[in-house]
Symmetry: C2
Subunit: 342 residues, 2 copies
């Protein structure tokens, strides 16, 4: 099945690039509300499911035992920019578990922003694992391992109790069986299991409403949802889609991006979850798609509409900031969205 062109990138009067993709919207009873492209094909969710990966930390009581606050819980669900507050917060989380940066197995990464890179260079430092965009998630894994009495070394491996527990939760939320043959290694060294988009969308519908979950798990979902929407800066950072959108939507939506063009969202007021993938892995494609879906789905106030539009239709700029073109949802994608969702 060939997925449709969902996003176009223009220059002058022409379309310069095209992104294809697929999208599933599912309600919290598991009903498929909207399918564009192939929603049965397995997709690696990557970082888009960090909030599901953080559930064992909360529902086991480990988060409480470690005295993690909302900002720290949000950091567990984040792909952060490596800005000061992210790095500092990940360090404190490790300290609370009696651990340090040396226990992280995610590898290192330069911060996203030039200001933060410059700060490290001026201090004659190179970034350690705390700067990895996944350091908060890993600090959460390590905290959970510690509270469970499991070894901290090797916490990224598929057979470690932390990863086993996560797999079981993701299977329950998506309704999919996750076997070794659909397992890949994520950029931060943990296992990532490919699921159909419709299963991922189902997971985010249930995450947003708690429908059908036993009370302890529903409560854990609510705690993480609240943490992310109340501390959106911790989930990503400056000039990032997830932060900007969750900030302005004030609890109406949870959104989380993942590497290689994945994006997931929960919209509790509609009782639905969204999962989408840009075929070629481009973030400019997945961000435009997610923004377009939210624009079609939701009644927006002025502030929400303004922020969303910066992601639905961003300019393509030259190096002197002249607008040479733009990124926009394709007519076909918008028409299909409106037909299925509006």
């Amino acid at each position: 099945m060939t997925n449709p062109v969902t996003v176009e990138v223009t220059r002058g009067d022409l379309v310069e690039c095209r992104h294809r993709g697929s999208l599933a919207v599912v309600d919290d009873t598991g009903k498929l509300i909207c399918a564009i492209g192939d929603v049965e094909a397995r997709v690696f969710p990557r970082s888009a499911i960090k909030v599901l990966q953080a559930l064992p930390l909360v529902e086991s009581g480990a988060a409480e035992a470690l005295d993690l606050d909302q900002a720290e819980l949000a950091l567990c669900c984040s792909s952060h920019n490596g800005e000061g507050v992210h790095v500092k917060s990940a360090r404190v989380m490790l300290l609370k578990a009696g651990l340090s940066e040396d226990d992280l197995e995610c590898g290192s990464q330069w911060p996203k922003r030039m200001e933060d890179i410059a700060e490290l260079i001026r201090a004659d430092e190179t970034p350690g694992a705390l700067y990895n965009n996944c350091s908060g998630k890993h600090a959460g894994f390590l905290g959970l391992a510690k509270i469970l009495g499991a070894p901290t070394k090797g916490y990224v491996l598929p057979d470690h109790p932390v990863q086993q527990e996560i797999k079981s939760i993701v299977e329950e939320f998506t309704g999919e069986t996750l076997t070794t043959d659909v397992c890949g290694t994520d950029g931060c060294s943990i296992p990532t299991y490919a699921s159909p988009l419709k299963g991922l969308a189902r997971a985010f519908a249930v995450f947003g409403t708690g429908e059908g979950l036993e009370p302890n798990r529903a409560d854990a979902c609510e705690q993480l949802f609240e943490a992310c929407v109340n501390e959106p800066f911790m989930v990503a950072g400056t000039d990032r889609f997830c932060t900007d959108v969750m900030k302005v939507f004030k609890g109406r939506v949870f959104v989380k991006t993942g590497a290689e063009g994945v994006f997931c969202a929960s919209i509790p007021e509609k009782g639905i979850g969204i999962a989408l993938k840009c075929d070629d892995g481009a973030s400019r494609g997945s961000e435009c798609m997610m923004a377009a879906v939210l624009e079609v789905l939701l009644d927006l106030n002025e502030d929400e509409a303004k922020v969303l539009n910066t992601y639905v239709n961003p300019p393509v700029l030259t190096r002197i900031d002249f607008k040479a073109g733009d990124i926009r949802p394709s007519e076909e994608f918008l028409t299909d969205l409106k037909a299925e969702l509006a």
Copy 2:
């Protein structure tokens, strides 16, 4: 027309991302040797045609009048990393024309490599226009404007004599008429005109052999070809496809990448030109495609095969450099290439 999947990106045992694209191979008589996907659709060639944009500088005698050496001519055709030698050489080119960085209208850009970024930050500097990957090309434009007695200010505008002359040359080489409605603004502020891939491939076939050109123009093509293959570091830099491939092929091929997934090449020994585009604009897609075409087309010695393979089939690494997957040409693309070219 839907272009085929040409490149796959894997993780574990699954394909995580797919890139689609199109490809034209044309000989220097204009005969289409191989067409994959839509080779009639207009594509912005962006920086892939810098070598054609440098022709007026050489054939007008301006390059000689300015005493530009091979390394400087190669820099005119480059999308460089902003490494020390690139920046220094662009500065000297401007000096030779009695000009300076202030005359550049391309805008500024941070260097590509962290080492070079760090050097600027340690010196408490931000990059000027000399660091723009197009600074060599722009220094060439300015030199030509100076020798022509045209204004240097506004040399990036479509109606400036330098840009007019370039348009006329690109029209002649591609066999296409370039009108305002197919004109966009490139990232460095100059006009870029969209042409069908088959026209671009024809241009590069003729560029490589000089077939049908009057002697002065054929000589200019040869000078620029020789400059780039003899000074491949100036065309791109450390760990870059164009540099690595031209270095090992020692004059057998000229290759040049452009933004948004374009790649062009000349292979004089076969009398052909190649032009390709990755639909979604990804360099990992266009690089894999170009490397695959060269691998299928050419008899390779051991060194050539080794370098090419690093671009045909690069690994996808985690942040601790574990191989999580790879980038590879699709079976369909390889089969089509072999059927049409081998």
